[in-house]
């Protein structure tokens, strides 16, 4: 029986693992593209975009209206990740600059300045029928048959070795990989062991723009990086600093102290925050970006010899 498009589907999600399991022929392995998860509901003449939290994102990404022209189907639902590149790598903070803008004039500007790509990896519905009960492999076959990739729309490629892809994504400085069972159905709204994700620790060069104290000693550093000439606050971190580092910082940082926040998006004054001239640079490792563009679980990896302006986000 032909059905009309459902209004909503909650995407299926992988379970987080620390390291990739041994290669197994029952799985395929994909790059985990670092962006925003997006379902595209395609009907004649219109594409609706809905994110993981069921918010409509149609107006934010007008270039994906082109999907109707590159898919050989009357109705379809695609699952994928909307990404934006920065220095040739997918950047979550960059795609977030697009994700909240709805004013049509600004969107038009951003379409030119921050191009996005829709990395499609699954097909849930095609010409009036749900494909969610089919094995992943068959859904992928149908996806390759109907979708014609072009610059803003790309197909996510399945690899047969997770170990090799894990290495390659680490070398290419990408977020990580996802392993999916070849025979997995699409279980909407569930985190399921049929899909597993593995993430590399991420790295960002940062400028220290302030600190917090515990007692009389430096406890955490306020971290930021430059975008379009402005220093953006990205989070604070204390772990990773050795006792010796803290000794040194407790002496040196107060000498750099200034009254106003150097961060564009962190107004001064803030209780317990001491601001400094943004001159000291550090490398920060973190688990992932939070949705409001801050570090999750940041650790100071070490001091760098970079100039502050070289720390870009």
């Amino acid at each position: 029986m032909k059905m009309s498009l459902p209004a909503k589907i909650v995407p299926m999600e992988p379970i987080l693992c620390t390291t990739p399991p041994p290669d197994n022929h029952d799985f395929i392995y994909e790059v985990k593209w670092d962006g925003v998860r997006m379902l595209a509901f395609i009907e004649p003449g219109q594409v609706r975009l809905i994110n993981k939290r069921q918010h409509v994102r149609t107006r934010q990404y007008p270039e994906l209206q082109g999907l109707t022209r590159f898919i050989k189907a009357t109705t379809a639902i695609l699952d994928g990740e909307v990404i934006a590149l920065k220095n040739g790598r997918p950047s979550f903070p960059t795609v977030m600059q697009r994700d909240l803008v709805v004013r049509p004039e600004t969107v038009q500007q951003l379409v030119r300045h921050i191009p996005i790509h829709y990395m499609v990896f699954d097909l849930l519905f095609l010409n009036g029928e749900f494909l969610t009960g089919l094995p992943l492999e068959q859904r992928k076959e149908r996806l390759y048959e109907v979708l014609q990739p072009q610059s803003a729309i790309q197909l996510v490629e399945p690899f047969s070795s997770g170990q090799l892809l894990w290495e390659a994504t680490r070398k290419q400085d990408m977020e990580g990989i996802v392993a999916k069972r070849r025979d997995s159905p699409y279980i909407a709204g569930k985190k399921h062991r049929l899909w597993l994700k593995m993430k590399h620790r991420r790295r960002q060069n940062c400028v220290v723009g302030g600190y917090t104290l515990r007692g009389n000693r430096v406890n955490a550093l306020l971290l930021g990086a430059y975008r379009d000439g402005e220093l953006l606050y990205l989070g604070r971190a204390g772990s990773g600093l050795t006792e010796k580092d803290v000794d040194m910082l407790t002496v040196e940082l107060p000498r750099l102290e200034k009254n106003d926040s150097p961060f564009h998006n962190l107004a001064s004054p803030q209780r317990g925050y001491y601001f400094t001239e943004p001159v000291l640079t550090v490398a920060v490792e973190f688990a992932e970006w939070t949705e409001d563009g801050h570090f999750r679980a940041p650790v100071i990896a070490g001091f760098t010899g970079l100039s502050p302006r070289e720390c870009q986000v």
Partner: protein, 280 residues
């Protein structure tokens, strides 16, 4: 759309859980104010002229000026003392004909959507209102603020218009000219009526555009484009995601080759013997 508020529409004994959304949006182009000299966005700071210093929000209280220069302070605890039913509801009081409510009363429009569990009752209410061609007058309590509203059905969705209380509507008697009392000639009137009839048409909202906004936007865009020519910004290459995928494939292939080489090195005896055998 982002849910603005969750609550319930209550009508008799029926209670319909709903979610509320803002139905309209202002699309005016916003400007920032900059310091002419350095082009930095200016800041507004809270300043006390008496103490001659900037103050924090914790240092600010709410005051009502009951006579020039004299204030009574009203704090949160005071406000909590005002008896309010603290329910999150839209209470339907009456049903009336839409024509009876003059548009001057309408303030803001919101969409009400059935929340899970409320679908049946919601459908019932809009069906009943459509059949009887009535709108509902309701009392709304949102965040302890009470207001009056009209609920009506539009495209099978319940729309809530907050309405002004009668004492919030200014009387036209305050206008200087008063109500027109001029004497009119029959011919003038005929001409005016025929003019109105000639311009009469169906209301098609789609044909009215904000031409000023469009023109303003074109002006801004032209300036931005002009600036780009002066300092060419590195526009990103649209297709380098393809390069990235290519690099990744090459990386995987390289790792694969390295691995098979390693394996070949690890098991030299077996392979070596085979070679020798074929060689001899």
């Amino acid at each position: 759309m982002r849910t603005l508020w969750k609550g319930a529409v209550s009508f008799g004994l029926v209670n319909i859980p709903i979610k509320m959304y803002v139905a309209t949006e202002n699309k005016d182009i916003k400007f920032n104010y900059l310091h002419k000299e350095c082009m930095s966005p200016i800041q507004y700071r809270k300043f006390c002229p008496h103490c001659d210093r900037e103050i924090n929000s914790e240092e600010i209280v709410r005051g009502y000026e009951y006579q020039k220069g004299s204030y009574v302070v009203i704090n949160e605890e005071d406000l909590e003392k005002i008896p309010q039913e603290n329910t999150r509801t839209i209470d339907i009081l009456d049903f009336v004909d839409l024509q009876q409510v003059d548009p001057i009363y309408f303030d803001k429009s919101y969409y009400l959507e059935a929340a899970p569990g409320g679908e049946k009752a919601y459908t019932l209410l809009i069906e009943a209102m459509s059949r009887t061609n009535k709108i509902a007058i309701a009392r709304v309590l949102i965040r302890s603020k009470q207001s009056l509203a009209a609920l009506r059905v539009r495209d099978r969705v319940l729309v809530m218009e907050t309405i002004f209380y009668p004492d919030e509507i200014r009387s036209p008697a305050e206008l200087n000219t008063g109500v027109a009392q001029e004497r009119l000639h029959e011919n003038e009137l005929k001409m005016a009526v025929s003019l109105v009839e000639n311009l009469s048409t169906e209301f098609e909202p789609g044909k009215y555009k904000d031409e000023y906004r469009q023109a303003l936007w074109e002006l801004i865009e032209a300036k931005i484009v002009g600036k780009e020519v002066a300092t060419p910004a590195p526009l990103q290459d649209r297709d380098n995601v393809v390069d990235l995928m290519e690099a990744l494939r090459a990386s995987v292939k390289l790792a694969e080759e390295n691995r098979s080489k390693e394996q070949a090195d690890k098991a030299p005896a077996k392979k070596g013997r085979k070679k020798r055998q074929t060689g001899s």
